[in-house]
């Protein structure tokens, strides 16, 4: 590690879009061999900055200096040749192609006449996959891989070039703990080779585990760089949102009512097996587990979108047959789905229309939709959830992630459900909005809703839940009350280790963990 | 004939046997038509052809339809050559484009008879005979009808058949050439295609009516389009005194003539057309002498002489 010249230096980067100044003179530097975390709320300009770095956008002003040499990168290939590699947050893979082709996408090795040099390609990729401890080969097709493995393919791209700078944009969003360990090892290897790492994540614990320094962006400006060792979450948060946030475990004693939902022996093929639990009015029941543990599929089954192969669902004391989302809604179940853009919202419709969609049949005046009725509902939940939109006419695609999520939550609250299921309530949402949504979930429980929260973030599930159910490979491994849960026993439960682990006794599917 | 189709379609064996039997004692004649179903003329032709073939127990007919597509027609000619039929009758989708296929048939020793509309002159050496109406003459007849009706003076519009098809081109040419020659006082203000389609022709005529304050006559490539034009003129209240001349007299045209709304047309019977074609082909196979241009008669039909003709069945 030479202290003299930073590997990457950004000097006064400005990038504007019509009507928006996305980056307003951002400057910071990344030293060789350091992990430099980049933090900021959604909309703070992180992604724009990364795209500038990767050659996808051209800055309007300012300059990028790599190893002391100012560079101009007109496209991603030029960026790569300058040693700057961006690992995308959203999977950037072509499903029908092989692992090797995806890793070298845009730069397949050539022989004469434009033919692909398969031998060299596969050799190089095999080496990289070995390094990453991947259990699939270069010829494997992407569409046969799990999301976590796809993420590993994405990460493998970091190793294709003699990189000087690798930018990781939310790399752990869908990684299992084992894979996270591999990733962090890789990052340390890169560090040892003198590569500078820019690490973007919303997950504080990761940032404090891996980074050397932290830079914070807010509203397109650089708010400061901190030495990780000399700061704490609170200080970082204050830089990010201008105030501090408490993020503690839930200590409330729930005031529970009757059993709103009881599930007995519910199974759905290989997805999940023999699930049984009770959910009472007035409590938040957290579901924690790895991606692929079957939690989302369980929620979709309760919402009538999958047909269970065995088991019973009891709603308000009587057995319910739920064979469609229409039926689920009629019986008082609401689901805030995992992916708000793909499942939660019609992006081409406005805020109001999205919010009233499930009950549009009941909002009529004569044959027509009642304009007043709709606006009344929208106004009510806009105020209650503090949705920030210029008007109900705004198309939801132009809202921030947090406000979009609130529209989805509002849409389902407006149905006055008996059971509210919320799947990944804060995925991809910035810290400030996160806290608001957490408070909201707690409030809902207090006001008598039966709430089921599915989350992959441990702090979140600890923060909002009265009870927690841990799932591993399609089975419930353990149930905790807020009093008995701690981080250790929860991690053990979702990895199939420790007491009460059903997963060890009879794993479903032969997937080796 | 039809029986054979169903049999062949259901059981493979029966098809094989019948085909084998057919070749032993009867003559097999294959026909590929232009586009059956596009108008009643072709459909009636097909029906008449099949009836005529069934009536003759020595004839086995293979009836195909090109659906208006030249390439498909060529494929069908190839298929017929492949089946070693005794003669091929072709209703060309295009007079020029089928010539090489006809040449192939000729090289394979299979006599070819062209029906309804002729092929290009370059192909004459490969065919035995043409059987059908003379479209150029028909166009000329129509020109004469128009000329008579207008007393050699007036402004007319023309609605032609589907662009690119021989019949349409020949009738237009026959009409225009003869009109210029027989009555220079009648001028064609504009020509637009009506695609053999009554509704299309009606639309074209509606636009003509807007565009031209004075239209003395309308010539249409067939009566189907002619009646469309008449419809348009009637709707605009301008049909009185306007002369409508068509070709290929259709039942609707015949009736309009009966009502005195339609001046005249060319009487062309698809039944005659079909019988003539089949007879020509049989004669060719039997080695009899047939005229190279075997036209059948297509007389003028007007309000005056229409009683001499029976109402067309299509």
């Amino acid at each position: 590690m030479t202290e003299s010249e930073p590997t990457l230096r950004l000097e006064g980067i400005v990038k504007t879009f019509p009507g928006v100044r996305a980056l307003d003179g951002v400057s910071f530097e990344v030293r060789a061999g350091e992990v430099h975390a980049l933090l900021g709320e959604n909309g703070a300009g992180k992604s724009t900055l990364m795209k500038v770095l990767a050659g996808m956008y051209q800055p309007d002003a300012g300059q990028i200096v790599v190893s002391g040499r100012p560079v101009v990168m007109r496209n991603p290939i030029e960026a790569k040749h300058n040693g700057v590699i961006l690992i995308h947050q959203e999977l950037s893979l072509a499903e029908e192609m092989s692992v090797a082709e995806n890793i070298f996408l845009g730069e397949l090795p050539r022989r004469r006449w434009g033919f692909v040099d398969w031998k060299s390609l596969h050799e190089r990729v095999a080496t990289i996959l070995d390094k990453l401890n991947c259990d699939f080969g270069p010829r494997t097709r992407i569409d046969t891989l799990s999301i976590a493995k796809k993420q590993m393919v994405e990460i493998a791209r970091a190793l294709t070039h003699q990189a000087r700078i690798v930018v990781f944009d939310e790399p752990t969003a869908s990684l299992t703990d084992q894979e996270k360990v591999v990733l962090f090892d890789i990052i340390r290897d890169l560090q040892r080779d003198g590569v500078g790492i820019v690490y973007i994540s919303h997950r504080m614990e990761e940032i404090f585990t891996i980074s050397n320094r932290i830079s914070v962006l807010r509203d397109g400006t650089h708010r400061g760089t901190l030495e990780t060792a000399e700061t704490d979450e609170d200080e970082v948060t204050r830089l990010m949102i201008g105030r501090s946030l408490s993020y503690e475990r839930n200590r409330e004693a729930p005031d529970v009512g009757d059993v709103a939902l009881a599930v007995e022996g519910l199974s759905c093929g290989r997805l999940f097996d023999d699930i049984g639990f009770e959910l009472r009015a007035g409590e938040v029941l957290g579901f924690y587990g790895l991606v692929g543990a079957g939690r989302t599929e369980l929620a979709e089954t309760l919402f009538g979108l999958r047909r269970p192969t065995a088991g019973r669902i009891v709603l308000g004391g009587s057995e319910a047959r739920i064979d469609s989302s229409v039926e689920a809604i009629r019986q008082g179940i609401s689901l805030v789905p995992e992916s708000r853009k793909e499942q939660g919202l019609v992006l081409s419709m406005n805020c109001r229309d999205n919010m009233t969609l499930p009950q549009i049949d009941d909002l009529t005046a004569g044959p027509f939709v009642s304009n007043g009725g709709e606006i009344a509902i929208y106004d009510m939940y806009r105020d209650q959830l503090d949705i920030k939109a210029p008007s109900w006419r705004q198309l939801v695609q132009f809202l921030s992630g947090g406000n979009q999520q609130k529209i989805v939550i509002g849409k389902w609250l407006a149905m006055k459900p008996r059971v509210l299921i919320v799947d990944e309530p804060t995925r991809g949402i910035d810290v400030g909005s996160k806290a608001e949504i957490h408070n909201l979930l707690r409030e809902l429980a207090r006001s008598g809703y039966a709430v089921m929260v599915i989350s992959s973030e441990m702090p979140e599930v600890l923060h909002v839940s009265d009870r927690i159910i841990a799932m591993y490979q399609g089975r419930i491994t353990r149930q905790f009350t807020a009093a008995e849960v701690n981080e250790d026993n929860l991690v053990q439960a979702i990895s199939g280790i420790g007491p009460g682990s059903g997963g060890k006794a009879r794993p479903i599917g032969a997937q080796a963990a | 004939m039809t029986k054979r189709i169903t049999l062949a379609a259901t059981t493979a064996l029966a098809g094989l046997m019948l085909a084998g039997a057919a070749q032993a004692e009867t003559i097999t004649i294959g026909i590929t038509q232009n586009n059956v179903g596009v108008d009643s003329y072709q459909t009636t032709y097909e029906k008449a052809f099949i009836e005529a073939a069934e009536a003759n127990e020595n004839v086995e007919a293979i009836v195909l339809d090109a659906g208006g597509d030249v390439a498909r027609q060529i494929a069908q000619i190839q298929d017929l050559i492949q089946q070693e039929v005794d003669a091929i009758i072709i209703w060309p989708t295009n007079g020029k484009a089928v010539v090489p296929a006809v040449r192939k048939a000729d090289q394979a020793g299979i006599p070819v008879v062209i029906t309804n509309s002729n092929i290009a002159e370059e192909g004459f050496e490969f065919i035995e005979s043409f059987s059908g109406p003379d479209n150029i003459t028909q166009g000329a007849y129509s020109a004469e009808l128009m000329c008579d009706a207008l007393d050699g003076e007036g402004q007319i519009v023309q609605i032609s058949g589907q662009p690119g098809y021989t019949t349409a081109i020949e009738r237009q040419k026959g009409f225009e050439d003869r009109l210029a020659e027989a009555c220079p006082g009648v001028t064609i203000m504009e020509t637009q295609p009506g695609d053999w389609n009554r509704e299309k022709s009606q639309r074209v005529m509606e636009s003509f009516l807007v565009k031209y304050d004075e239209i003395d006559g309308v010539y249409s490539g067939d009566d189907n389009m002619g009646v469309g034009a008449l419809n348009a003129a009637k709707a605009a209240g301008r049909a009185d005194g306007m002369i409508f001349v068509g070709a290929t007299n259709f039942a609707v045209g015949y009736e309009a003539m009966g009502r005195g709304e339609y001046y005249g047309s060319i009487y062309q019977s698809p039944v005659d057309d079909a019988r003539n074609a089949l007879a020509t082909a049989i004669a060719v196979v039997n080695g009899e002498d047939v005229p190279f241009l075997n036209y059948f008669d297509t007389p003028k039909i007007t309000q005056e002489n229409m009683e001499e003709f029976s109402k067309p069945v299509f």
């Binding site: 599929e297 997937q511 | 098809g15 060529i74 494929a75 298929d79 020029k96």
Partner: protein, 336 residues
């Protein structure tokens, strides 16, 4: 998510069966082939099979290029009109007085001009799609009308006839046991198969169609890439127009009507996704042959033309349905 549990359960299948599962259309081709071999006397003749090859080659050539464009996630509806334009140009130009004393060499500038026109129309479509960002369906729907208009304006609604019989002799000639046109088709199919499966451009075709964002991120120049594929389909539409006109020794302005629909049908039957990213030439060949054999076989069986339309339409939908059934994920799937 579900894959985590389900990957290892895929049963071991024999190679041939797996191949068939990837290209179900070839199973269908085999079935109709066997059916017609028994059902009609003349189907299973060398001569007839040669005919089938020549007859399919027109649709087949265009389908090769269309496969590329459709894997890209685009579509080209203007191929039928482009075919007519190329055919008309070629047949007309060889008769120009300038080339009168060129002998058979007069074919050369004519054919080149025809092919160039096809490539130019392709390039125009491609550039419009690239630069305006308008959906290829719309761009080429417009071109389908417009280019047909150009054909009629250029030909003045007339057919052209190739005075030089060498032209139509070429269309009727054979190389060994195979008709020349079939050989051209087979050679082109092999070339495009190699292009798609072995070259950088071919692999990028899948990337652009499968995940355009990823392709852009990876630095593939998506716009020019798509233009190249449009030019390829334009080239093949023109080539098909020329081979078709050698069969006729002539061209007509109505040539190639509805071909776009049959080409797309063949390509989709062959397993290419309309959304892009998936497909291959082997499947496309199966799709083209399926339609060609059905048409030829029904001709030989003398199925009346009216019924042919119904049968073709029904089979098309049935094959689509079967394909869907083969690719079903089973009971557990999300019911949307």
């Amino acid at each position: 998510m579900a894959q985590v549990l389900s990957t290892p359960t895929a049963p071991r299948l024999s190679g041939a069966f797996r191949w068939l599962l990837r290209h179900p259309i070839w199973g269908f081709v085999a079935v109709v082939f066997i059916f017609f071999s028994f059902a009609t006397a003349h189907f299973f003749d060398v001569q007839n099979l040669q005919n089938v090859l020549v007859q399919t080659s027109t649709i087949g050539l265009i389908a090769l290029g269309m496969t590329l464009v459709m894997i890209n996630g685009n579509i080209d509806l203007s191929v039928g009109a482009t075919l007519a334009l190329a055919a008309s140009l070629t047949v007309d130009i060889m008769g120009w007085p300038v080339f009168a004393d060129w002998g058979n060499w007069q074919l050369l500038p004519a054919v080149l001009a025809g092919l160039a026109a096809g490539v130019a129309i392709g390039a125009l479509n491609g550039i419009i799609v690239w630069k305006t960002g308008v959906d290829a369906f719309i761009v080429t729907l417009g071109a389908m009308l417009g280019v047909r208009g150009l054909v009629f304006v250029y030909t003045e609604e007339q057919s052209f006839y190739a005075m030089n019989f060498a032209y139509s002799d070429f269309g009727a000639s054979s190389i060994g046991p195979l008709p020349t046109l079939a050989v051209i088709f087979i050679v082109c199919a092999i070339a495009i198969h190699l292009l798609l499966s072995q070259t950088v451009h071919g692999r990028n075709t899948y990337a652009v169609g499968g995940n355009r964002e990823a392709a852009v991120n990876a630095g593939i120049r998506v716009g020019p890439h798509m233009v190249v594929n449009f030019m390829i389909v334009g080239f093949f539409a023109a080539l098909a127009g020329i081979t078709l006109s050698t069969q006729m020794g002539a061209s007509t302005p109505n040539l190639g009507r509805d071909y776009e629909l049959w080409v797309i049908t063949a390509v989709v039957l062959g397993g290419t996704k309309l959304t892009g990213g998936a497909g291959n030439i082997i499947g496309t060949l199966g799709g083209v042959l399926a339609i060609g054999i059905l048409r030829n076989g029904m001709n030989l069986m003398q199925v009346p033309a009216f019924y042919v339309l119904v049968i073709l339409g029904t089979i098309l939908i049935a094959v689509l349905f079967l394909d869907k059934q083969l690719n079903r994920k089973g009971e557990e799937e999300l019911r949307l």
